[in-house]
Symmetry: C2
Subunit: 340 residues, 2 copies
């Protein structure tokens, strides 16, 4: 105990005397994603690509600024995910896909690594930034997961920006719903439909490490195009689409949610770090490759306790970016090499 | 490949020629729980204890009979959980606790270890046996998790027994709600309430291994007394209250759900089996002990690929039973020793 106290005092003194030196020892960083899937470079115009890159750059820059100013990883991932939710380009917040009934139902989750506290909401319909409601569940309720009308009723007790459900509307997502409905027409009452893989894709997320060494992860999504039956995907399921534990790593996932739940993608990556001594990058590469062998498509962004930021995906592309004190800014969409 | 084919042929021949011998090599078994919590022997009458023991004996006997007759572990856990759901003594199906608004909202999940397929429902209100709807989600939909009105709409497409919400009513649960409401009265609109630990307790579950070596787990609950805001606990969250993977183990959990989600209790036990080479019994004991150090209360039943049936809990008692080809029938409630 005395040793620790002495070390703390020396460290505090050093921080006052030589701030740069001490800060250089503590890596900070953030990685974000805007969904994985069939992202075909040949079909994307230069201006579309520019728009996605600009939105990713804005989100990573705002998230990293929080960390640079000494903010927490929790604040950084919240900030970055809000930027992505507010952009109509990604399937979360504004720009969320449509349900079968042409409405929007959104899911989000957040987790902090120091005490593994977490919050998640599923099927909300009037929250401008679902990640803020997930965070309120974590910080202002005794619960971890709230769903549907109940989650909205909890939001009524808070001071959060609300929107009519039409706020999330975008023309290109409505066109996607029309195509989905046409494809579903032969068997409209089945729950087991041959969904086109890209209908399930699209989630945004962020992982970060702050100067205190705390990890955090945030994930937000509009779910699956033409979804029905109150389907909950992996985004609000802790351990599947989101996980953070200071003793291993933080993960945000995107992809075919059902596989991510069954294979516990986020927590399995961290379990391999914790129990097998792998880096988060190695574990992420392994888990995403194994997922591909059983037919699960998607990807993850990860950060470990050493501040290493990386990603892995088994799809054509993943909207992604990272920046850290030891990592130059990188903004990528396609899969020249599908991990780093 | 040739080696495997030859082994299969020899094994099939041996099964025909010497059925008992081959069957003796293949352990079968099932364990069940009916919830963990403050179960005080001093406060329980002899007739109450007898009633609980009789219900547990009925469930374990019916589940084990499925296995003995060559049925699958999936069928065995379904059967055992249905018996527990139909008993008014346990917080699942008939006998489910009341929400704050004096209704009932039930959650259930099921998972099979050979392909990690899974199904879960949250917040259903008219399904006589929620475990059957969870199983239909697994077997008859492309999804893993359905919630609320959507899950009910999916049930409308199936041939499942439905009940009015009042079917789940029991007098002693209603009295528990009255006590909870009185305690909540000072701050009725807060989500962060000083809930009495026992309000969160009560879940039923089963884990089993069949002659093919397949593992399965099933969990069902009425949730938390006086719950609001569409709260989802760990029971329908794969990896938290339920997990099954032939390469490691199967787990059904009961306890303070929020902790079981944050600490990924079910999948963490199996991760320690898979990555650290522990037995399921060792891993379960460790995880439940660690959970106690952060304030999480509850317990688990587990079975591993070797057919070893065990349990661990950090509460005063857990309603539990087990029976296997290598395990004599055991029905217990209190914690003389809190694992086996």
């Amino acid at each position: 105990m005395k040793k620790i106290a002495l070390a703390s005092i020396l460290s505090a003194f050093a921080a006052l005397a030589f701030p740069q030196m001490v800060l250089a020892d503590k890596p900070i960083g953030i990685a974000i994603h805007g969904g994985a899937g069939t992202i075909n470079q040949a079909k994307m115009t230069a201006s579309q690509q520019q728009a996605y890159e600009a939105a990713l750059t804005e989100a990573i820059t705002q998230g990293y600024a929080v960390l640079e100013q000494g903010g927490s990883s929790l604040d950084a991932v919240t900030r970055a995910v809000m930027v992505l939710e507010d952009s109509p380009l990604f399937n979360a917040g504004k720009g969320a896909v449509y349900t079968f009934d042409a409405t929007h139902e959104l899911d989000a989750s957040i987790m902090q690594g120091q005490d593994r506290n977490a919050g998640a909401v599923a099927g909300v319909t009037t929250i401008k930034n679902p990640i803020l409601l997930a965070r309120a569940v974590m910080e202002q309720s005794e619960h971890v997961m709230l769903a549907g009308a109940g989650a909205e009723a909890f939001a009524d007790t808070l001071n959060l920006a609300r929107v009519p459900n039409t706020y999330y509307n975008t023309e290109f997502r409505f066109e996607a719903l029309q195509r989905a409905r046409q494809a579903l027409a032969p068997q409209p009452h089945q729950a087991s439909l041959p969904f086109e893989p890209n209908w399930r894709m699209g989630t945004v997320g962020a992982v970060a490490i702050d100067r205190s060494g705390n990890l955090a992860a945030a994930t937000s999504t509009g779910g699956m195009t033409a979804k029905r039956y109150g389907r909950i995907g992996d985004a609000p399921v802790i351990g599947a689409g989101n996980f953070a534990d200071n003793s291993s790593c933080a993960v945000s996932a995107t992809g075919h949610g059902e596989y991510f739940i069954r294979y516990q993608v986020a927590s399995d990556i961290c379990a391999r770090v914790k129990y097998q001594g792998k880096t988060a990058a190695e574990a992420a590469t392994e888990v995403i490759a194994e997922l591909a062998t059983v037919g699960g498509t998607g990807g993850v962004i990860v950060v470990d306790a050493a501040g290493q930021l990386s990603w892995a995906f088994n799809t054509e592309g993943m909207y992604r970016a990272k920046r850290g004190s030891q990592t130059p800014l990188k903004v990528e969409i396609f899969s020249d090499k599908n991990q780093n």
